[in-house]
Amino acid sequence: MKKAVALLLTAVMAFGVTATAVHAEAGFEEIPIFEDEEVGFMNVSAVYFQPVPMAPGQEDTENYNMHLECDVSAMENDLGYGLGDWVPYLTVDYDVVGTEEGNEAHGTFMVMSASDGPHYGANVSLPSADTYTVTFTFHSPAENGYLIHSDAETGPGGLLEDVFGEGNLSVTYEGWEYAPQEW
């Protein structure tokens, strides 16, 4: 019987080691939804993590399941954005729609900075596990008063109209299998 006990204890230890192997950065861990989708001159990624307080005025996180973040960086462009730089002055709408009625979240991201730099994000309530379709809609920075030098001498060569002339741009990612996490 002692052999059986030893065998079982070994199994338990192995199980424990497996569990410990599920390693993550302590505390803060970005969970990817999609990465490196390209739209216009922008590279777009989406991640989520625990709901976070945001100052000023958005400190209450009690009613949210996650902080949804949209990272937008510039690719090669003639609008004056540095390669890999965060693209400012955008208005980014988010629509997260599940397969079952009521499983959805909509809104407009706020602009903010975290330890890893500026981004578009919002605390979102998405309490049900489901397969979701995530759509980000990008409005032209011109809507928020962003200007581009349009003369040949000082301008970067392009205009925002070249990119947003036909309307807003959007990225849609289907098949995000999400289950609420405990943070």
Binding site: F15, A19, Q58, G107
Partner: protein, 415 residues
């Protein structure tokens, strides 16, 4: 208050009922030694939960998902070993084996407490008070709600332990195994959820299990409650068919007192379970019901302006008005007289961040319906954050005058 009542009950009742069953089972079979071991591990679990709660809320060192996987892995292993050693112990008893069974039960209990308690401990420090302090009625009512939920759970656990200790051994064992099995499925679901989210495991079947488990959290609590409810029901029925021999009236009185006690604890256990179900079903549905916006009030449309009589909005409460544009879009706007002031807060019933979701009044505060952020009434009419979108207006001759042009300009906010 209701929200925290639900938190207290939902977070604790499954743990306390299983703890009650374990306590009855261990104390019945292993006596005081078993009790001491169980008490020791329970204490360890409670103290470890205090440390975990502190670490979670004051440092960034704890990743809850990873810790949950560890806790549930330990709990599952302890449950498995408890079952195996328990079965072996039924055929052949030894002091070593008895201790091992008690230790496994203790580890299982400690893991349950270590998982459940940190959020309960931390809750009073994280109450959403909307700016109110700890010496406020808002804090007090939330605390009362939380304590009531926790008290109900503890009472359910004690009643389960009491009735379990008087139940037939086989029945108690069956109920305990059933409750632990239900909780095991629950814990597997939690582990799978973390591993799937981190892409350690994959597959449609796994996600379907994760989805089902996550969307039916309360089902596991009901399952454990249902299993535990078998004990009081069986003992209630038995109490009406008592046929225990006695030699004198004193013994007869003792037997009757015993069964009276069984009925009382059985009733308590059942009432706690029923209250638990009420809290987790209708009360929870009521507490989470969507907020209804107050109806749109009458205003005067005259030419190119919408007029709101000042006397209509003098009371300091939120008033909602609307104008239908030529494109047949109803544009809502709100008016509130600012506290200790003769000025008015006027803005769209929508904000740049949350869109046309609207605002409602709660306990004298103006709250965004979507994000539940409380507005500073004095800043309504100014741009920024989740404030209502600013619109043109003027005040004069006893009216607030809002040009229809400013409402038409913002009609796209109301899709």
């Amino acid at each position: 208050m209701l929200k925290y009542l639900i938190l207290g009950a939902e977070g604790m009742i499954l743990t306390t009922i299983i703890a009650g069953l374990l306590y009855a089972w261990i104390s019945g079979r292993y006596g005081n030694t078993g009790k001491y071991i169980l008490h020791g591990f329970a204490l360890c679990g409670m103290i470890a939960a205090i440390v975990m709660s502190y670490m979670k809320n004051t440092t960034s060192l704890v990743h809850t998902g990873t810790w949950n996987v560890r806790i549930f892995t330990v709990a599952l292993a302890a449950a498995l070993l408890l079952l195996v050693f328990g079965l072996i112990g039924m055929k052949k008893r030894s002091v070593f084996l008895d201790r091992l069974v008690c230790v496994m039960a203790g580890i299982y209990l400690a893991a349950l407490l270590f998982y459940a308690l940190p959020d309960i401990y931390a809750a009073p420090f994280n109450f959403s008070l909307g700016g109110a302090g700890v010496f406020s009625s808002a804090f007090f009512t939330r605390l009362v709600g939380l304590l009531l939920g926790v008290f109900l759970s503890i009472l359910a656990g004690i009643a389960t332990a009491r009735i379990g200790s008087r139940s037939p051994r086989g029945l108690l064992t069956g109920v305990l195994v059933a409750a632990v099995l239900v909780n095991t499925v629950h814990q597997f679901g939690k582990i799978a959820s973390v591993l799937y989210t981190r892409r350690v495991i994959s597959g449609t079947t796994v996600f379907n299990f994760v989805k089902w488990s996550a969307n039916n959290e309360d089902l596991f609590i009901y399952g454990v409650m249902a299993a535990a409810a078998v004990l009081p029901i069986v003992m209630w029925v038995r109490s009406f068919h008592v046929n225990e021999p006695y030699e004198n009236p004193a013994q007869h009185r003792k037997i009757r007192a015993k069964w009276r006690s069984i009925r009382r604890w059985g009733s308590t256990a059942l009432i706690c379970s029923i209250l638990g179900i009420v809290i987790l079903s209708p009360v929870k549905a009521y507490a989470n019901r969507p907020v209804e916006l107050s109806p749109v009030e009458e205003s005067i449309l005259d030419g190119d302006n919408v007029y709101v009589p000042l006397e209509q909005v003098e009371d300091g409460h939120l008033h909602r008005f609307a104008y239908t544009t030529p494109d047949d879009i109803t544009v809502r706007f709100i008016v509130i007289k600012k506290p200790n002031s003769s000025s008015y807060g006027v803005g769209l019933d929508a904000c740049d961040i949350c869109g046309e979701t609207g605002y409602f009044e709660r306990n004298g505060q103006i709250v965004c319906k979507l994000c539940d952020v409380v507005m500073n009434i004095n800043t309504i009419g100014f741009k920024g954050g989740c404030n209502p979108i600013v619109i043109d207006y003027s005040v004069g001759d006893g009216y607030i005058c809002v040009p229809t042009s400013t409402l038409i300009e913002h009609q796209d906010e109301f899709k």
